[in-house]
Amino acid sequence: MSEHVVSRKIYFIIFGALLVLTAATVWVATFDLGAWNAVVALSIAVLKGTLVVLYFMHVRYSSKLTWVFVAAGFFWLAILLAFTFSDYATRGWVGIAK
């Protein structure tokens, strides 16, 4: 019943991975990939954020209820982004409002 104590080794591994990914995002940004620059940068950021949430914030070792809480939060953010972008992306399709 007691809480899960994450080993220090895991913390050091995650720390190293975050630094490597930071170097990677800087390196990739020096290339002109057009629209893919944003995609790559955001993908690396999402990966880094996921590592922090799962290991530093212990969600990987937390209860199912905590999982649902966290997932609901990011799902709501996804709704905010998806609906707004679908609006902006399709405004030119009909000649009503600009």
């Binding site: 019943m1 007691s2 809480e3 104590v5 994450v6 220090r8 913390y11 050091f12 995650i14 720390f15 975050l18 630094l19 930071t22 995002t25 800087v26 940004a29 020096t30 290339f31 002109d32 990939l33 620059n37 944003a38 940068a41 955001l42 690396i44 950021a45 880094k48 954020g49 922090v52 949430v53 290991y55 530093f56 914030m57 212990h58 937390s62 209860s63 209820l65 905590t66 809480f69 966290v70 609901a72 939060g73 990011f74 709501w76 953010l77 905010l80 982004l81 707004t84 972008f85 902006y88």
Partner: protein, 226 residues
Amino acid sequence: MAESHTTHQVGLAHHFDNMEQQREAGTLGMWAFLITEIMFFGGLFLAYILYRTKFPGSFAAASSHLDWKLGAFNTAVLIFSSLTMALAVYYSQTGDRAKLIGFLVLTIVLGFAFLVVKAIEYHDKYVTHHIPGPFFGFRWEEQAGDPKQVEMFYYIYFAMTGVHALHMVIGIGIMTVLVWMARRGRFTPEYHSPVEISGLYWHFVDIVWIFLFPLLYLLGAHIHPH
């Protein structure tokens, strides 16, 4: 469940059945708060993405005037502070009070280091008139980019990094209270929820910066590889 009421447990509030339930409630409460924070910063990120899509050239030109080296350094500082915070939580779980206090203090020091670098950057933007408002002046002749659109980038830059820096200041305040509580021996391997949930807050602020760094600093990196 009833036995925990009969034996007094240090740190157990009377409305919880046991320490496990109390800890779970605290974690969920903190996550509920962090979800409101996700939505709060999410709105700012949304504004950033919409304007960046609308003014890609000006945003890249404006971004190239930020020093990505300082941004990368601050990213490393915050990631390091997340490690020291995680270790502080670890030593609160194992009951090593000296190391708990040591890593909390180290986290505070790293938080200040971040803010000092941020202050240097803000000062540079002040000197070069990149702060939006009546004194905004961007040297367009050397850059592509519409002045108004570049100013919009800096509006978003200062709003997002300013609110983030405010969270850092609050985080440092929370860590200071934790050091004070730890010195008074308030935390045990059974009860250390304040350290745990304050850690959640600190890591969240780190995550926000993990997204801010590439979005704000690296847009123009392939234009100005300095």
